[in-house]
Symmetry: none
Amino acid sequence: MDTELLRQLATPNDTKILLCVVDGLGGLPDPETRKSELETAHTPNLDRLASDSVCGMTLPVGYGVTPGSGPGHIALFGYDPLKYEVGRGVLEALGIDFDLQGSDVAARGNFCTLDAAGNITDRRAGRIATEICIELCERMRKVKLAGVEVLVEPVREHRFVLVLRGEGLDDGLEQTDPEREGVPMLPVKAERPEARRTAELANEFVRQAGELISDHPQANGILLRGFAKYPNWPAMPEVTQMRAGAFAVYPMYRGLAKLVGMDVAPGGGTYESQLAAVRKAWDEFDFVFYHFKKADAAGEDGDFDAKVEALQEFDTLVPALRDLGADVMMVAGDHSTPAQLAAHSWHPVPFLLQSHLGTVDKVEAFTEEACRHGMLGIFPAKEALSLAMANAGRLMKFGA
Amino acid sequence: MDTELLRQLATPNDTKILLCVVDGLGGLPDPETRKSELETAHTPNLDRLASDSVCGMTLPVGYGVTPGSGPGHIALFGYDPLKYEVGRGVLEALGIDFDLQGSDVAARGNFCTLDAAGNITDRRAGRIATEICIELCERMRKVKLAGVEVLVEPVREHRFVLVLRGEGLDDGLEQTDPEREGVPMLPVKAERPEARRTAELANEFVRQAGELISDHPQANGILLRGFAKYPNWPAMPEVTQMRAGAFAVYPMYRGLAKLVGMDVAPGGGTYESQLAAVRKAWDEFDFVFYHFKKADAAGEDGDFDAKVEALQEFDTLVPALRDLGADVMMVAGDHSTPAQLAAHSWHPVPFLLQSHLGTVDKVEAFTEEACRHGMLGIFPAKEALSLAMANAGRLMKFGA
């Protein structure tokens, strides 16, 4: 349901909802064995949980849409990912735990290689080492712009974040990356009159930064894209009347949780230490988001066996996650990351929901094929929260 | 499809469509037997009909949304229940067969108990007996308001309907029920300037009514909510080019059918006598809505066995319903009412559609689990009418 209806129907009680996100959960059959990563993995705990749950497949954004981490998670937090878009600049800043402020404009930066004529010969500057990125970012911090603070943060390899901080900035800016080589970079253009000053400042940044790094043989230019401000969305705790807490090892996922107004526990550590943190804070929250990254990383590496292993590792965490005693527990993925594709994909993602109501379907394994036959069918990922809240008795009747 | 597209594609012919609504049809497995009410019931006629049909599950309003009777039926009549909302005051009036007129403003009333300080101590006045409700409503009919007629009708226990009748009334009014106890009732506030006069009249009603019942030990106050006018929706016969008739024992369902412009047969009697009325009027209609209430009532009572029995009773009506010879026959529910929850629920509802085209799927039982695997999958309830009309040859091709 949409955010406004959710706000209208939400009613508090003392139940607890646990959302476990296995990043990149879904996969595809190996062409040889015809078994997917989940079908290959030995996951007795997940299978037992599936037997005690209702199952289905989530469609993260839409048919054929391969989601980034942003929309994949935003949907599972109950927001329409097509309506609540996270700018690339903001996402890049979240990914390095950068504390974006309300009026900041953030952009994703790439170092690139320019030839003598100013044409781009490599849009990623030969993927320079992260240490070089750090050194060049330090140089670019010397840029001075009238009336705004300039913040430059390295990410890794050729990637960095640019943040302009000050009053009256507007993120209606076109990217400077022409997305092809052999042509010069584009100027920053304002998409609307209110953004003209910010466009001028960004162009001045590009000019000064270009001078500061011009002597580097590979990374002598920069490309900026995804200019964006931190969005001002309806906060999940306010919409749902649930105190929501996020537990994730990696900054990106804490950042996404913060975007929707969750309380965010300190990051880092291991999946076990994060789980211990959940256990400790259990009484403080009505809704807990627990993030497991490894399956996605292995999938993106195209490493089928590593993904199988990652899923098995998650399986060993399941008994302790169940022991938390949530009234409603979900295991979901933000998107599929089939090892076969070595990338995120558009495929629907296995999903299970275990409820204190005891409702179950006939699914007895947590795989793509088994969940496909579950009671929930294929449904939009943004509805998972509505289903969980309904099962938790946290939604009032609609209409009389 | 939406109402405008339906209007555009609808074309008349001489086919007949029968919609049988089994109120509260869907259920949940009993935790012991792991069988739902439908799986437990012996329903040979429904199962045979399912074998001769295509099956699926309707989603009444949306994922996680528990519908009231209003939206549940409105959807099966082909209207988007999120767009066509029935006000609570109107629904309460429909439920007692009150003949609402175009400019009336209706409100649902509750008697409540107020303490000496004017704080609410019981929002339902201890659920006073219906006879007391009738007597107190008679007292409140003495209220005189300038320029409008005051109509007060008892419903049952602590519930009544207030109708203000006159020119220039507006239903943009906030409820007086604070939805908690220990605080005073709220004044009626206008949500827009046009509603100010109506707000004043409603407040004056509350004041005078309060004086008239002030000596009652339990029911010495009233709470009003769901101020609403009779909506002016596109009429189903006009949109679909079908003469539509409604047959229901209980007033609420006749009222909902009237809201969408159906011809409504007299109520009361038994399911058999209503069926006889359908048979008699068969030539007069292209679309017939037949309502069976008992399954919902048993579900709301939390009585699994009674619901099983109600379903079996409906099953005995199926041969006669089939014998009517509709070109398209549907068996649907307005929502699920699992005995386990003793309430309406958000769960998708079994659905079957038998067509003169003879199209069938592999489903051979009319249960949640079986219909889940039917050809129609899980689909929005508001699309059932479109499917029926398509099967009846009553929809033209879209585009060339």
